[in-house]
């Protein structure tokens, strides 16, 4: 292995050398872990390509066909649900990141009365089981006539994602030197101008992580969506998918095709954001 031979000419550095056995063991372990991580995903893709009843014989080879996909796209409300999920997830991401960024910045840079309790609130709110909130929220949204609407679901999701995002962004803003703000102020920018023009562009990795978090939270939420979105026209994907595999029927072929189509946008967002994940998570998440 080149990794084993690729030793710098200086004195022995055992940590960077590996015997062939160690190398082999390392790669075996990682390959095994990768197989466990990837297998379920590939398996679902495979089942989805095998027609409506292909799932019943997972180990027997019969050709591939796209009938599940054509059926999903042509004869169910999948596209409507997909659109709903996109609207809700994007709405949550934009609104959530925007308000948590301003709050995170204020908490990071300005000392004001209420600053500490606010940080505590961000942490404590994450402990709220949705079970305690869901009934009162249902009533509130009912009174505001926001049940079964995009806006109702978006603000609900914001209340879930904002505390975590604000907490993490605060940590991220802390790592940006305050001299940058001061320079901006000297040049005559308002505090908000400093934030918007100088700090936000520098905080892109942190914003990417929180945006990703908001998007995935909204894209995959089940409990609120199942109760709040009552008409089939307004189902999100998480609710719609349950209709394929219910008490009476089990259309696993259609389910898998839908699962693949649902995962693709999430995965795209994920891999765009993942370059920033390590940087953003460590800067923000570790400074409680």
């Amino acid at each position: 292995m080149s990794a084993a031979q690729n030793v710098r000419p200086r004195k022995p550095r055992p940590r960077e050398q590996r015997s062939r056995t160690a190398s082999a063991a390392l790669h075996t372990a990682l390959v095994a872990a990768s197989v466990v991580a990837v297998f379920p995903v590939l398996f679902i893709v495979y089942v989805s390509l095998r027609g409506r009843d292909g799932w019943q014989e997972p180990t027997r080879w019969t050709g591939l066909d796209l009938s599940n996909y054509t059926h999903i796209l042509g004869e169910t409300k999948f596209l409507t649900w997909f659109g709903n999920s996109v609207v809700v997830a994007l709405g949550t991401t934009v609104l959530g990141v925007l308000i948590s960024a301003t709050a995170g910045y204020a908490v990071s840079r300005m000392r004001f009365p209420g600053h500490r309790p606010l940080m505590w609130t961000f942490l404590v709110v994450q402990m709220f089981p949705m079970a305690v909130l869901i009934v009162p929220l249902y009533n509130i949204l009912g009174e505001l006539e926001l049940l079964d609407s995009y806006a109702g679901l978006i603000v609900t999701y914001c209340s879930v994602s904002v505390p975590f995002c604000a907490w993490m962004l605060k940590g991220y803003f802390d790592t940006i030197p305050a001299e940058i703000d001061e320079a901006g102020r000297v040049d005559g920018l308002s505090p908000f101008g400093t934030f918007w023009r100088l700090v936000v562009p520098l905080a892109r990795p942190g914003l990417a992580v929180t945006g990703f978090y908001s998007f995935i939270t909204a894209w995959g939420e089940v409990a609120f969506a199942s109760q709040f979105m009552s008409s089939e026209e307004h189902y999100t994907l998480a609710v719609g998918l349950q209709t394929f595999v219910g008490q009476q029927k089990a259309e696993w072929g259609l389910m898998t095709a839908a699962a693949v189509l649902i995962t693709v946008p999430a995965a795209v967002v994920f891999f765009v954001a993942q370059r920033h994940l390590v940087a953003g998570l460590t800067a923000g998440g570790t400074k409680g």
Binding site: H27, A37, M110, L133, V278, L281
Partner: protein
């Protein structure tokens, strides 16, 4: 009086900017978390259910007729008269502990493996974080298909290898094992990425110095790596416990919405109380408040423990 007004005015004029910037978040949290929480606490002291809350049927508006019952709900739940609170709590604790333990150890192991120069490192990293990119409900449904007794791929493999097929989701114990497996599969990437970041922030010099002093790899791991990860670990374990304790999707979608399942954790049970059968809003709120109190107590003790460890660590050094 006048001084108070001036103080308020002065503090407003210096802080209004900060307040304006946090205002949206405060409003969202107050309306959507604070108020519902208050209402939830209130409901937990009443006998509210579907039949007696205020509702509108057609054009008729029916006023709420539920009454306060004091601590009765809590007494019923905590004395074990209703809902098998303690057995559910026990399983929830086992579920949380085993999931977080496996998340953390597997995540740490993989992060250690990934944190060294080697071929295909970027590829391994991408493959290993893939489960994170899959929405939890999709992953849960996929696993449900793989666990399927008659047609699932796991049983197909087992049969090929000569073992009998196993009822993964029907048997009470296996159900729990399956749920833990799915949640571990979902949660490891987050831990791995966070710990990897922590590992990379440990200065190389520390490892080199330990090596010069003749520390074995295991000693380096115990005395350099683990202390260096302390802050990251503290945060991710706290978050992991909170998230797993409240993990709704995996249990609800994997084990199903069937009534009376023993494998339900507190959160899914509270949800079922509120939305299935005769909707028991008061009971659900009571469970919710109890879950919240348990987590709060845990978080306070946990943080205190971390702070004490920190002090001892400094003293030793």
């Amino acid at each position: 009086m006048a001084t108070v007004v001036t103080t308020v005015r002065r503090s407003f004029s210096t802080h209004w900017y900060a307040w304006a910037m946090v205002l949206p978040v405060v409003i969202v949290l107050a309306v959507l978390v604070g108020y519902p929480l208050g209402k939830g606490i209130y409901l937990s002291f009443t006998d509210a259910n579907e039949a007696n809350v205020a509702r509108t049927i057609g054009v008729n508006h029916i006023e709420a007729t539920y009454q306060s019952v004091g601590l009765d709900n809590y007494w019923k739940v905590l004395s074990g008269q209703e809902g098998h609170f303690y057995s559910r709590l026990g399983w929830t604790v086992v579920w949380t502990a085993s999931c977080v333990f496996l998340h953390y150890t597997i995540g740490l192991g993989l992060a250690l493996l990934l944190n060294r120069p080697m071929r295909f490192r970027a590829l391994y990293r991408v493959l290993l974080i893939l489960p994170w990119a899959v929405p939890a409900f999709v992953a849960t449904f996929s696993w449900r298909l793989m666990f399927n007794e008659k047609y699932g791929v796991l049983n197909a493999f087992l049969t090929k290898l000569g073992f009998g097929s196993v009822d993964w989701l029907g048997d009470a114990t296996l159900q729990k094992v399956s749920a833990v497996a799915v949640n571990v599969w979902l949660g490891v990437p987050f831990m791995m990425v966070a710990i990897l970041g922590g590992l990379q922030s440990i200065p190389r010099e520390l490892h080199e110095a330990a090596e010069m002093d003749g520390a074995t790899p295991w000693q380096r791991f115990v005395h350099v790596t683990l202390p260096g990860l302390r802050t990251v670990s503290g945060t991710v374990i706290l978050l992991g416990v909170i998230w797993t304790f409240n993990m709704f999707q995996v249990i609800y979608l994997l084990i199903g919405q069937g009534a009376g399942s023993e494998s339900e954790i507190l959160v899914t049970y509270a949800y079922r109380l509120a939305f299935q059968g005769i909707r028991d809003y008061a009971g659900s709120a009571t469970y919710g408040i109890l879950i919240l109190s348990l987590l709060l107590v845990f978080a306070v003790f946990y943080r205190r423990m971390l702070a004490r460890n920190e002090k001892e660590g400094v003293a030793v050094r």
